[in-house]
């Protein structure tokens, strides 16, 4: 555990040191089947139910490459502005670990399928920062170990371990940045913004679930410091177990303050793997290995090289959807948004939802106001992501239309939305079932207005004297009497006309 005394104040860190970042992101593809066998690629499931001789490494079993995974890898490479290899191979990365059935990982080593690209990342203030990509390569995931007994689920001190191979062989793409210089005090923000932009891009490509909480997108952050303006590269650490965008930012920031404190006292940074602790926001050293790991990479002899034809690559390029950055620029112009409004929309992950609602007939203002305010509140209350709310953009558009027709007041509309969220059916069905029609029959309203005026003669007199502001009290009384089902605007008109 690192105490506060072991950390340097962040402002001082950035005054004295230049941070150097490197980010490695592992993405689980959501292909139907695993990387080298026909087993289902599904998150969850009873342990060891998505397994076969190939992914359990039964003697004699052989891998066959999943063509869709290769296609996804190429799409990712293209979206990251990479070159696509004309010829590349898989390699074996040899090391023993119980949750890796073959005791080697089939991966790519010095011949990645995509290399030499970049991703432009928009920071909070709208500045665009270019992160250069070194490579994106294909590999397979390992199984999962569950250590029973002992402390904190760690292998050390556990009584026994359980192995689940459902995840073994799930297709992974590892995306590695080049070293990212020049981030200065914004290093933590750049790291977060990069992972966020990458996540949005992968989502737009529809190649992965990109759920950091489920491990389908995992980030390792490499951080080192060099004394300001010396350009001397520092020793780096690699922080793993960073499971949210916020954690990416916190982990980088923490490592900077930890390393700076050590360097300031003349200490040396140990090149090591560290683990991010979500609860404390700190990193701790992983188990140190006595000998340097030698993975004894060599070309995988059970697989033939992959040589994507240029025609195929160009075909795939044509299928790429609009990238999130361009899409944002376009909607900002179309919907006439300020930078702040766009940022709110992006932060709420609501761009697609609003666009779909506009598609279904609402204006962008109406759609935005529903998604980023009322529905966002509902999502927070219900503890789900905005997109996971059980309401469709079409349903939201329908509610908007009902308000515009005068069939619903805003207050009633919110109640209709609650009904939809509670599974009571389409908006019209909720209106029907809950009896939420606006009272638009003037004779019924006139009666209620007259009753209210009679009950408050002094107020009625004020209105008659031209003090129109006093009409609010009568409108309020009418709304109360009609249980909110009247159109307040119409009630006000009636009050004024009856008093003139």
């Amino acid at each position: 555990m690192t105490s506060v005394a072991d950390l340097m104040d962040y402002d001082e860190v950035v005054e004295r040191f230049d941070p150097m970042l490197g980010l490695e992101v592992h993405v689980e593809l959501h292909t139907k089947t695993k990387m080298f066998c026909g087993c289902a690629n599904e998150f969850g499931g009873e342990p060891n139910t998505h397994v076969c001789p190939v992914c359990l490494a039964a003697p004699g079993a052989l891998p066959v490459v999943n063509g869709i995974a290769v296609e996804s890898a190429i799409k990712i490479g293209l979206a990251l502005n990479c070159e696509i290899a004309e010829w590349c191979r898989f390699a074996r990365k040899n090391y023993f670990y119980p949750d890796m059935p073959k005791n080697f990982q089939t991966s790519q080593y010095d011949e990645p399928i995509a290399f030499n690209g970049y991703l432009d990342v928009t920071l909070d203030d709208g500045e665009v920062f270019r992160v250069e990509i070194e490579r994106a390569h294909m590999e397979e995931d390992t199984g999962k170990s569950l250590h029973v007994g002992g402390t904190a689920g760690r292998i050390h001190g556990a009584e026994h371990s359980l192995l689940d191979y459902n995840r073994a062989g799930v297709p992974l793409i590892e995306i590695v940045t080049k070293m990212i210089p020049g981030t200065a005090e914004r290093a933590p923000e750049v790291a977060r913004a990069y992972v966020s932009a990458l996540r949005d891009l992968l989502k737009a490509l529809d190649v992965s679930d990109v759920r950091m909480d489920q491990g389908s997108l995992r980030c390792d952050a490499n951080v080192s410091l060099s004394p300001k303006e010396t350009g001397v590269l520092g020793t780096r650490t690699e922080t793993k177990n960073v499971n949210s965008l916020r954690s990416v930012e916190r982990a980088v920031r923490f490592e900077m303050t930890r390393q700076a404190a050590i360097l300031a006292e003349g200490g040396e940074i140990v090149q090591e793997t560290r683990h991010f602790e979500e609860a404390s926001g700190t990193t701790r050293a992983g188990r140190r290995k006595e000998t340097a790991e030698d993975y004894r990479y060599f070309p995988e002899p059970d697989l033939v090289p992959i040589a994507p034809s240029r025609e195929w690559v160009e075909e795939l390029r044509l299928t790429l959807p609009e990238m999130p950055a361009q899409r944002r620029k376009r909607v900002q112009a179309e919907w006439k948004l300020t930078d702040a409004e766009l940022r709110d929309l992006v932060n709420a992950d609501a761009v697609d939802l609003v666009a779909a609602t506009v598609e279904a007939g609402a204006t962008s203002v109406e759609a935005r106001s529903w998604w980023v305010s009322y529905l966002m509140q509902q999502a927070n209350t219900r503890g789900v992501e905005l997109g996971a709310l059980p309401i469709t953009p079409a349903q939201v558009a329908k509610v908007v239309a009902l308000v515009n027709e005068g069939a619903l007041t805003n207050k009633l509309a919110r109640e209709v939305v609650i009904g939809v969220l509670d599974g009571e059916g389409e908006p019209e069905q909720v209106v029907e079932a809950r009896g939420l029609k606006v009272v638009s029959d003037d004779s019924a309203l006139e009666k209620a207005v007259d009753e209210a005026l009679a009950a408050q003669p002094d107020v009625a007199d004020k209105i008659r004297d031209g003090k129109v502001a006093a009409a609010g009290a009568i409108v309020g009384a009418v709304m109360k009497a009609t249980k909110g089902q009247a159109d307040a605007k119409r009630v006000r008109e009636l009050v004024i006309s009856r008093c003139s």
Partner: protein, 503 residues
């Protein structure tokens, strides 16, 4: 002629013609195994029930007038224990897999079953196919039926001995550096390593993935060809499988049997003679070459200089791949588990199991391979070996530009005595000197017996090599030679195996 001394083709004809039942044929072989295998130790497992059931199925087809599943339906076969088969144990000759039953069939096994071939059981082998004598089996050595004090070759000594002992008319072997051909040579049987990629490796427990190839073993060239066509063909479960038609090897064997080789150009590899070659072996080889000339072939000398480096290159590439392929035997999911007593962690159990479960030769090769792949050594060892491999392929390409097939002795000596070379790995490795180049280049190669050595009366083998996917060329030459050899030597060589009854 008795059932057990018949060829596979003869047995198939009798079974399909209703002259004899497949069950009788299977039973005759099972009886033979019972009576002689104690002294041979060719079989690690005999599947009496499964064999009789498969035979019965063929008899039912014949009785009902249904077409038989293949030209070999009903013929018994011995399967090398490195190919997995449901319902039978698979050990690879190792303690580490003792008692393990595969949950799936190898593609070769499946094709055999679909062809109605009757699998008698699994045959002995050097542990994980590493060896040239079958002495490295954890289940005791196999004895050569020609002389029980001698080795039957390896790694597929169980399969070759089963053929020579008339325990089975057909067998499956696997050849990584000569493990089909060298056992064939020292037991006087036919063994074929098809073109790499033409027989699926799915379910073949890997020793060296880029070299391993399963193939047919038999007592005649035609029988080997018939079996070749049953097991070969594209398999989408093996990424290195070649998607091309199976070469017409049966037709070539029949054509060759007519005894005319005019127009065929045969190259004698000059590198494979001289020091280290037994005089009786060289004499038999020269006689065989003369025989080919008399059959009308044009014989020329061909130099393949890179072949001199084949052996060292092989002993870097094969162990490197093996060190990785054998990593999966870790006690976690199947096989032997040692030290799981609550006092050892998973990594210790892995290590204790591998220490207890692997034999000395397997450990030696895992260590060599681990070393050769280590950072700092990779380029000098594995990298250089791969370059040699390219040079060997170029030598073959150059040779096949001028000749149709290449020939050499299959192995430099006849069968050596059990124990004679077990303390000297280099002497053991030299048994594969002539066979290894075809594994490194991936082309087709086979052994056909060329008679008995004048110096010790033991079988000698002629190796015939053909370009990739031209397997039929060597079958034609082998079949022509076989007929001429039998005519010159007064009948089939194999019938001169000593009587084994009562051993």
């Amino acid at each position: 002629m008795s059932l057990i001394r018949s060829t596979a083709a003869e047995l198939a004809a009798k079974i399909h013609g209703g002259e004899v039942s497949a069950v009788e044929v299977a039973q005759a072989h099972l009886d033979r195994i019972s009576s002689v295998d104690k002294g041979i130790n060719a079989f690690l497992h005999v599947d009496t029930e499964g064999a009789l059931a498969a035979a019965k199925q063929v008899d039912d087809d014949v009785a009902a007038g249904r077409p038989v599943a293949s030209p070999l339906a009903g013929v018994p076969l011995a399967l090398k224990d490195v190919l997995v088969a449901e319902g039978m144990p698979t050990t690879c000759g190792s303690k580490i897999l003792e008692g393990w039953h595969s949950p799936y069939d190898a593609t070769v096994t499946r094709r055999l079953r679909e062809a109605g071939v009757v699998i008698l059981g699994k045959t002995n082998m050097d542990e994980f196919a590493m060896g040239s004598s079958t002495e490295n089996s954890a289940y005791g050595p196999t004895h050569n039926p020609w002389d029980l004090d001698r080795i039957p070759g390896g790694s597929g000594g169980g399969s070759s001995a089963a053929l020579a002992a008339f325990e089975a008319p057909l067998a499956i072997g696997t050849d990584t550096g000569g493990s089909i051909r060298q056992p064939g040579a020292v037991t006087g049987t036919v063994g074929v390593k098809p073109t790499y990629g033409s027989v699926s490796r799915y379910g073949l427990v890997a020793f060296s993935s880029s070299l391993d190839q399963a193939g047919p073993c038999a007592r005649t060239v035609l029988d080997a060809a018939l079996l070749h066509e049953v097991i070969a063909g594209y398999d989408d479960r093996d990424s290195t499988s070649i998607n091309a038609p199976v070469p017409p090897v049966v037709a070539a064997a029949r054509e060759g049997a007519s005894g005319d080789l005019s127009g065929v150009r045969v190259g004698v590899v000059t590198q494979f003679s001289g020091e280290g070659y037994q005089p009786g072996v060289l004499a038999s080889f020269e006689a065989a070459v003369e025989q080919l000339r008399q059959l009308g072939a044009e014989v020329v000398q061909v130099s393949c200089p890179s072949f001199d480096y084949a052996l060292p290159a092989y002993y870097l590439i094969a162990p490197s791949e093996a060190s990785s392929n054998l990593a999966r035997f870790d006690a976690m999911r199947y096989g032997l588990r040692v030290g799981d007593d609550g006092s050892h962690g998973a990594e210790e159990v892995m290590s204790l199991t591998r220490e207890a479960g692997f034999g000395a030769e397997v450990k030696r090769r895992i260590m060599i391979g681990t070393y050769a792949l280590s950072s700092g050594y990779y380029d000098a060892y594995y990298g250089s070996a791969q370059k040699v491999r390219t040079l060997i392929s170029r030598d073959f390409d150059a040779a096949f530009a001028t000749v149709d097939v290449l020939v050499s002795p299959t192995t430099p000596t006849t069968a050596f005595k059990i124990g004679e070379r077990s303390g000297d790995p280099m002497a053991m490795y030299k048994a594969d000197l002539c066979t290894i180049p075809s594994n490194l280049a991936g082309n087709a190669a086979m052994n056909v017996p060329s008679g008995l050595s004048a110096d010790d009366g033991l079988p000698v083998g002629l190796q015939i090599m053909a370009p990739p996917l031209q397997d039929h060329r060597m079958y034609r030459v082998a079949a022509a030679y076989e007929v001429a050899r039998d005519a010159a030597q007064g009948g089939p060589l194999i019938q001169r195996v000593p009587q084994l009854e009562g051993i």
